[in-house]
Symmetry: C2
Subunit: 189 residues, 2 copies
């Protein structure tokens, strides 16, 4: 038996995306976004939704380039802090001790300590009520050597990303591997 919980923005599993931009004074800033996902395979594209009141919103419209850094479990406190304060008033890199590294590909900083960075160029925007959906073409993804398998592929058991729960407003780690896609379901064929 199912019970209604109302029109909640709840997909159970949400990413924790740390969006890096330079502001109009060239200062590195970062914000936390859980409203996001891949929205095309070709051109490889990611969508993130940001309220106009957020400091990153204006930086993104001005620069049209950004990064997404993916925090590991180890940095859950730092990643959470990024979602508490605003870059209007605080240098979140200085407070957390995280290092803003300039991307070689785009005019935006990423978090050097986080295991994965996605470098993006803005391709579309769409106003959707209280949020602007920013769509970025993914130009490259870079992963720490320590997060790669011996074959050079990203290994989530080494990257240890966060899963964001939008109802409880909390973070989970990654659980056990349950099986391969396009394989587990073959038992029904």
């Amino acid at each position: 038996m199912k019970r209604s919980i109302g029109a909640e923005t709840f997909l159970c599993v949400h990413p924790d995306l740390i969006v890096g931009t330079y502001d109009h004074q060239g200062r590195p800033n970062m914000m936390a976004a859980a409203w996001g996902g891949i929205c095309s395979s070709d051109p490889p594209s990611v969508g993130i939704s940001i309220r106009p009141s957020r400091y990153t919103h204006q930086s993104l419209l001005a620069k049209r380039e950004f990064t997404i850094s993916i925090p590991s479990e180890h940095y859950v406190a730092e990643a959470d802090y990024v979602g508490i304060e605003s870059g209007k008033t605080v240098d979140k890199f200085a407070v957390t001790g995280l290092t803003p590294k300039k991307s070689d590909l785009v005019d935006a900083p990423y978090v050097d300590e986080f295991p994965v960075v996605i470098e993006c160029r803005l391709s579309n925007t769409l106003e959707l009520g209280v949020h602007t959906l920013f769509i970025g073409e993914i130009l490259d993804v870079k992963v720490d050597e320590a997060g790669l398998s011996p074959e050079g592929k990203p290994d989530l058991t080494k990257i240890r990303p966060l899963v964001y729960d939008s109802i409880e407003m909390g973070y989970y780690g990654l659980g056990e591997f349950l099986g391969r896609a396009f394989s587990k379901g073959r038992s029904f064929k």
Copy 2:
């Protein structure tokens, strides 16, 4: 030291969304989508990206209403099967034994056995290369009683959603709770 893996559609954490529609003959169908995320808080909206070649694409454009069912770990094989076959040729509900239940709110079926269902009405579409981004307004979310906390809120440790890894093409479960948002980061204030 970071290594480039190319312009991959890799956010580490992706949801596993089972999209339910009725086709032009009124038959229930479902497809698996990992390209999706919340894209506005108000009106509460979710975006999912679907290739025009997928059977659900035409049903969605015709009906303009759909559901998203969230599978639990227990149904990883069924959920994976949904991503292997096409509703053009196979009745995926019949093959898996899953039950298509008609939504009371929208003209679309959901998977009765899955712990969470999100009922949506199409509000926008955007062509993004090989995918169409479908944006749906979330009209309601319904959760199995067994997936709720004593206070009546969805509890991910009971729902046990899947996390999809787009690089390894595999499924993970949910790991341990790491802390509350807007709380863990207060240590930096």
